[in-house]
Assembly symmetry: C2
Homo-oligomer: 211 residues x 2
C-alpha cells in the first residue's frame, strides 16, 4: 500500500507558490503545512516561533561545515544540545516533516521538504517560480509597496532562500532535476496551476518512459 | 496578432525529451526541428553536417571569452569569416532558429533555442529530465547497451550539454527559472507528458498571478 500522498512545494518569493499550495491542499482535502512546521519544530526543541523565524534563514556558512565543526567541539554529532542553534532547528523541522509524511497526506511548502523526503514513495516535488517583473507586481499589490521596495525584497529573498537551501542540502535551489515539476506560475496563472497540480496528484501510478 | 507558437524543448539525454517533442509537434500538426537545424545552418555557413555535429559540443572555453579573443584578432566582431568555427556555427544556428520562429509554428529541440528566443511572445520553454536510473534503463533498451556503457553515456552527455549551454548562454543548464515548465518525464510517462504539453500549447493567453 502506498504511503500518504505528499506534495512538497518550493517557491520563489512572490510567485504565488504559497497560495497555490494552500488551494491544492484545500481542494484535495488534505493537510497544509508551512509556518505550522516551525511551530511544531519549536515545540519539540523548546524554542519560540519568533526566535526560529528570525534565525532560520540568516546563517551564512554551510551546514556541512558547521556539522563538522560541531562534531569537533561536542561529543555527539546529532546531540542537538551541543549543536549550533540553526542546525538544531533544521533537524527538529526535518523530524516534524518526516512525522507528517508518516501519518497523513499533505502539502508542505518550503523547509527543504523535497530534500528531507527524497526517495519517498508517493511524493510529488514541485517548484513554483515566475519572472521577476511578475513577482514584483504581485508583491507591490499584496504588500502595498513601492516598486523599488518590492524589487529589493525579491532580490533579498531569492538570495536567502538559495543560501538556506544550499546550506542544508548541498544542492542548488531551483535546479529542475530536483523536482518532478517546475512551473512558471504566470504561464497558467494561480487557479489553472492549482488544477494542473490536482491532476498530477490524481495520477494512480508513475509513468514509464521505457515503453 | 500573436506570432506563430514555438515550443522549445531542452532535455537530458535519455529522458525521452526528443520523442516527446516529436509527438507534440505531430499531434499539433506543426513543424519539428532538431538536427534539421544543423543542416539548415550548415547550408547557410557552407559547412558540412558531419563537421558541425562533430564540433559543436566539443569546445571547452566560454563563448564570451572566445568572442572577446576573436574581436582582438579579427576586425569584425560578428564577421563569421574570422570567428572561431564553433562560434560561427552557433551564430548560424541561432539565425536559423529565429527564421523558423518568424515564419511558422514549431517544436524546436535543443540548440539553446530557449535562450535564442528569450523574450519572444507565444513561446513556451520546456525542460524534460528524468532520474539517472530511469534514463540509463531507457538507453540500455533503445541502444542495446550494457548498464555501464549507458551510465557513461549519460554522464558524458549531461556534462557536454551543460557545458555547451553555459558556454553560449552564460546560464546554468536545467535551471528551472529559465523554462516555463520543467518536468520529470517518468512522473507521467511519455504519452501523458505529451498530452500535458498539448494542453499548455492550447492555452489562449498567459495567466495572471496578480488576481
Amino acid at each position: 500500500m502506498n504511503p500518504p500522498l505528499i506534495i512538497t512545494i518550493g517557491r520563489e518569493f512572490g510567485s504565488g507558490g504559497h497560495e497555490i499550495g494552500a488551494k491544492v491542499a484545500e481542494k484535495l482535502g488534505i493537510a497544509f503545512y508551512d509556518k505550522k512546521i516551525i511551530s511544531l519544530a519549536a515545540e519539540k526543541s523548546g524554542l519560540s516561533d519568533e526566535f526560529i523565524e528570525k534565525n532560520e534563514q540568516r546563517s551564512k556558512s554551510s551546514f556541512i561545515q558547521n556539522l563538522a565543526a560541531s562534531s569537533v567541539y561536542s561529543g555527539g554529532f546529532f546531540s542537538s544540545q551541543y549543536m549550533p542553534l540553526s542546525e538544531s532547528i533544521f533537524i527538529s523541522q526535518a523530524q516534524v516533516i518526516r512525522d507528517i509524511a508518516a501519518k497523513e497526506s499533505a502539502v508542505i511548502v518550503g523547509r527543504c521538504s523535497d530534500y528531507i523526503l527524497a526517495g519517498r514513495q508517493n511524493t510529488i516535488n514541485v517548484f513554483i517560480h515566475a519572472p521577476v517583473e511578475v513577482r514584483v507586481a504581485r508583491i507591490m499589490r499584496i504588500q502595498n509597496m513601492t516598486e523599488a521596495d518590492a524589487m529589493k525584497l525579491v532580490a533579498t529573498s531569492d538570495k536567502e532562500r538559495g543560501n538556506h537551501y544550499f546550506r542544508y542540502t548541498d544542492r542548488k535551489w531551483g535546479k529542475a532535476q530536483n523536482y518532478d515539476l517546475s512551473i512558471n506560475s504566470s504561464l497558467l496563472g494561480i487557479d489553472r496551476t492549482v488544477e494542473l497540480l490536482i491532476k498530477l496528484a490524481g495520477i494512480e501510478e508513475r509513468g514509464n518512459i521505457d515503453n
